[in-house]
Symmetry: D3
Subunit: 155 residues, 6 copies
């Protein structure tokens, strides 16, 4: 893994990484986030009678992954072959996870992270009338594979 | 503060909150996030010779706040009178904070939270070549004021 | 109701309507569309075991309404106070309807129509693996109120 | 042609189709729509002295095709090698048709349909001052070719 | 007129101007640009048999004005009451001009300039097969009115 | 180099160029622009104590290049392997330059030009409080390479 900040040139100026010479290869990344809430808030959120409150968060995460390059200034615009976002209750709140795949010259870590971050923000939006103290935490890369830097797995 | 999920109708279906009857009033919200990194990663990020690595994160956060309604499905499109995003090193990594203001019929909590989340993702993007284990944590609302539900302050 | 094409100037060139002098007033519009499918396709769509196949169409419609001014060249960018999209099975397929509200100097007919059109396209997308012959039909304005031209109701 | 809803997983949850393993192949889709108006409205629209009222609808349709993946939640972001949108008067109103091409791992049916739908909405927008009763109808796929499922032709 | 850079705070960091306290007032701005081409290129562009080559540039300019706040990082998102873009041949090439109006707490100079810049880029795009040496020049504010700083007129 | 307007069909109607048959090859384009200001304005802009006023213009230019196909109606949506935007003071004001690369079936001239145009607009936005008479000029293609039409170099 490189040990320098690739997003800066030798004079310290911000720059996009040039992937012009790199051949397209299959790449995958997964990420997760936790929307942390009190047991009382969690019970109120689950009590919603009929709908699935997490489905809209999943859709928002999938849509956001497609727009990563519009949000993160130095990300490359990519086409994506798959985006999956899951959302499930656990005892601390809502756990969000994502898997994003492409065949391209650069990885999809930012797409996976953007998906979980926006899905988590959407959960906050839908629950904020009950509790504004809900926190989004543990937004992190779980795994990435493909590309020259090989496979990364979070400890 | 309401104790029900305003984003669901009586049959449990997801819905946007109707703010048609509400008069425009001044509203403000602030939020924060932490991009947590190891001391070693933090030293490497700070060593960047000349540029200001946090300035691009601030810009990304400001730009993202303007697009909140595109990212969060049930958010109302609003005009915003001010967006400020700050980013600073502390001993745990990079602390991001935002303040967003509007005069409108609904609050700007989601705009403030979206700003810090995307600024934090941008910091991750710029540092991921050094350390993919960086985490985004403590994304939370610090304060909101204006509107019928009054002022909220995080403990 | 005016009997001339307001989107053309006196030389026949396309132009945006100037609403600079008009005071903001409450406005509302509703529209509907039908996603027409064969009885056999309709049965297959309904057989989906657990999820609600129409919920994603509703979300897509709400999101699209917010982006009407990006899609329709001569539409004014507006803020919207409410967007509701409903989707339900009837014997011909899926009926989509929308209601959009604003307080502004121009109406929201295009927002209401864009919402139902994109929701209907989303239903098509989710069912096209079963039947590519599904049609979107009867996309029309049901009602509009507010503004100088008053109330319109479809016969 | 598959006879199951590919956009749902085995538990009924909505999901994007994974096209990671599929090689890019040439694909093409065409669609059409009718903007139906009364003979009287049609005469008024045609009377526009100098401009070509259908040209802006064509541009709007081409632009919309490029943004399909932003509008339809489970569509893959793709690059497109060609988008053509035609608009012509017939005795019922304005007929819109589109052809979209790509070389990719998935089809462009939704791009072709989105193009005609948004072009039709644009025609409505430009004529609504004369007649709000105009309807968009017969939005349908005419043909698709390429990919594993082969060629489809509407009857 | 202020004689300091309002987009920087006292420590020199970039910031958005806070317009929270400012009442909405009518504002207007106009701008122009020249797409400069050789007489030979100009003749070839005019020879296009039937269509109006400048109409698409006008549409692109109008659409771009609506997206100014997405393109220019420190611009406020605004609603706009009118956007007009004109394009005409003169002996040097194509002259583009725009007028943009709003009722708001800040001006629309950037919207007027963005409109002419993108319209000019569109003219370049449509003529580049004939001559890649076409230049865009004289992009400037012609006039602005409204707001505390009053009226500006280019000399 | 073709000597006809490729963006028009034989009847003079505007059309997108069909690149379906063209193989992807490496392509590159560079462009430049000048933000022209009086010596007095230039001194005031440079006096900004701490920040780098040109860095935000660079970021805006990079972000805009990614959205070229949304702004220019007949541009193909492409993925980009590299975008670089530089901004530097000279004695006339601020010189902006860009280099954009892709591997694709069509060139990236418009992406390079859009990058410098939006970066220049951003400089204007940040300096307009001091001097509204600043002009953007000399927006032009410096060089393009790759593709059937070969290499172009501005004189």
């Amino acid at each position: 893994m490189p040990k320098t900040l690739t997003h800066y040139d030798s004079s310290g100026r911000i720059r996009m990484v040039d992937v012009s010479g790199k051949p397209p290869t299959p790449r995958r990344a997964s990420a997760s986030a936790l929307v942390k809430m009190t047991p009382r808030t969690l019970r109120a959120v689950k009590r919603n009678p009929k709908g699935d409150p997490l489905e809209i968060a999943r859709i928002a995460g999938i849509s956001a992954a497609k727009r990563t390059a519009e949000l993160i200034p130095l990300c490359h615009p990519l086409w994506l072959s798959h985006i999956d976002v899951q959302a499930a209750f656990n005892k601390h709140g809502v756990v969000i996870s994502s898997v994003v795949s492409t065949t391209g010259p650069t990885g999809v870590e930012m797409e996976a992270l953007t998906a979980v971050a926006v899905a988590a923000l959407t959960v906050y939006d839908m629950c904020k009338a009950i509790d504004k103290g809900i926190e989004i935490t543990d937004v992190r890369l779980l795994e990435k594979s493909g590309g020259k830097s090989g496979t990364y797995r979070a400890r």
